[in-house]
Symmetry: none
Subunit: 214 residues, 4 copies
């Protein structure tokens, strides 16, 4: 080889902040997993986005699955951190629920990939049993977060009789997951805000007009 030829250097590049690459890796992986799903997100796509080669991914994560788990853990941390912060100043179930919806609307605008991830994770769990196992423990946090809010609402008598904690939890689950899917699919921020307001009305019992007349 021509010794004068400028070759890309092998080995560790000196100008890269250690730890930096790892962060970028998780960031780009999250975006891709959220946007196009686990299968369609190839190592090459992630590596190209980060500016490394596919082999380098394996310095940080032992497998694609582990990268997915790590990305999800981060998302989960941030989303539920935000949600927990959002409810902390509210005493009533109604107030907490409103705050959660608002916060979800915020997140889906500022960090769409977070919502995309949350929406997709259930489906990926079904597709890939090996993911399901690792995901299960992580997902527990979501479950507990809502569980406590719902149980408290029931014990405080904030919801009608006949609605148990389980049922309330499931209903909220339906609304939240539906809203997340909606926010993932619909890019119009105004429509997202409107539907959130509508859902608040719904919870407040004000959607149908003059129910007494019926």
């Amino acid at each position: 080889m021509n010794p004068l030829a400028v070759r890309k250097k092998l080995g560790r590049p000196c100008s890269v902040d250690p730890g930096e690459t790892r962060k970028r890796l998780i960031l780009e992986a999250r975006r891709l997993f959220a946007e196009i799903g686990y299968d369609a997100t190839t190592n090459r796509l992630v590596a190209d986005a980060v500016g490394i080669t596919t082999g380098a991914i394996y310095h940080y994560f032992p497998s694609k699955k582990d990268l997915y788990i790590a990305a999800f853990a981060e998302v989960q941390d941030m989303v539920y951190g935000a949600l927990e912060a959002a409810v902390v100043n509210h005493d009533t179930f109604s107030g907490k629920f409103s705050s959660i919806l608002d916060e979800l609307a915020n997140i889906s605008t500022s960090e769409p990939s977070f919502i995309g991830f949350v929406v997709g994770v259930a489906a990926e769990s079904q597709r890939h049993p090996e993911l399901a196992q690792d995901l299960k423990s992580l997902r527990m946090r979501t479950v507990m977060f809502l569980h406590e809010i719902c149980e408290e609402a029931v014990s405080k008598g904030e919801v009608n009789e006949g609605i148990t904690g389980q049922v309330l939890h499931d209903m909220i689950d339906v609304v939240i997951s539906g809203l997340s899917r909606f926010s993932h699919v619909v890019n119009d921020a105004q429509r997202r805000r409107d539907v959130v307001e509508g859902l608040k009305y719904l919870m407040a019992g004000s959607v149908l007009s003059a129910p007494a007349v019926r």
Copy 2:
């Protein structure tokens, strides 16, 4: 060779009802697409489920995409046929909505793969642009079905002012897709019935107790 292995014969198999294989193909494809999604559903998986070879699939459908479309069209037909039948005897929005929720609960019990398909199709559309194109016209039917119900409700004054047809539509979309996802994930029929009842309450404005006091 394993002498116990039953070697399939070449040529036309004796005594196979024509048309039967095609039906089984769509059936098994639907189940798999619903359960594990488009990517994870390999031709081999489908073929094995039907009891044919992967090549034989192409005797019936020119590509995997077309098989997906065909399966979806069937599901769409049956689900929206059922939903349209369910609302036809109701005059009020409230009644229609209740019927839709009930019918969805029925379907998710009797034909779980139908619901799984409907849940997944939006995500697959995003992941696979080539699917999106063919799916678009089919999905129109869903959109129109809800659109009419919502517009009618607004024009009849059945919903509070401030709730436009668009917002109502989006809200219903949130609830229905959330419920579908829930039904897809939760196998407990009782919980499904309960959450449907809860959602009806919700619509009737009776979830939060004593709203008047607020």
Copy 3:
């Protein structure tokens, strides 16, 4: 099955002249083999062109290879029949050669697939050893046809000394195969006629001007 349903009849269609299908089969096969080659010519393509199914081909020929051989045999018969007829009224090598070129130009206009086949057969022989074997005996006729013309020219002293029969034969082979390839690729009939005239000039020693002066 609904007995009233009009089904396509199975079995032998009564309105088809026996022998007719076989002819059409060879005809369409010839066209396709000539135009797109052996590999690209699928049984389906041939069957569709004839209006039958791929399975039916096997009633007439035991394999694709045999269909190819049959098509080639026909082409060979017609082309060399025409060439033999073309030379029969000429005594001189020069006259025969001219007639051959003219006849090739005619054929490439009236039946382009014939020339395409002749051009392609050598290449296919190399690609497919199993074809080569059967083709060999057929191709003998071509060889003998030119062989005799060349030997006669040499023995009659019609060509310069130093040009043996073998060399003359090879030269003609070069010109004829080159012309065939040219005719196969160039669709302009005028250019084909012109190049044939040019080649006649060439043989007559009149291309380069004033060779004596050099």
Copy 4:
């Protein structure tokens, strides 16, 4: 497992000269494409010849098509480089033409696959539209090379009147492609040299004896 089977190791092979595999890949591909054509040259055949797996081909070329193009570009470069060098010292058309024929004979002896490739490329272009597109610009060089020689010959008055540049070009095309096909098929070096000498005679107007007498 056969204990004698040498299992290839995963990962980067030790002591493989970088760039070496790529060269071998093009080399073996060229040989195979030349000998058995595009369709019959499977990735497996190429990979086996090089000693890698089929997947590794895609480390170097994004598709089989691109491998073909790369192989052809190299052949084209070498063949037309040689031909251009061969004509540069000749002033007359006659001299240039002789040199071209000699050079073609040389190449067909030293690098038979080069000629095979040049012969085959026209046919492959017809069969595979996707190849034709990329090949078109490459083939331009061939066309221009002969075009200039022919136009110059005509403008210098080196050929008889009535022979236009176009006709001369087509005639040379016929002879060169015919010779190439001949060289590709006939392995006898002596016969190749003889036919080249014969074609030179032909051009010099000396094949038919005593044409003046006629």
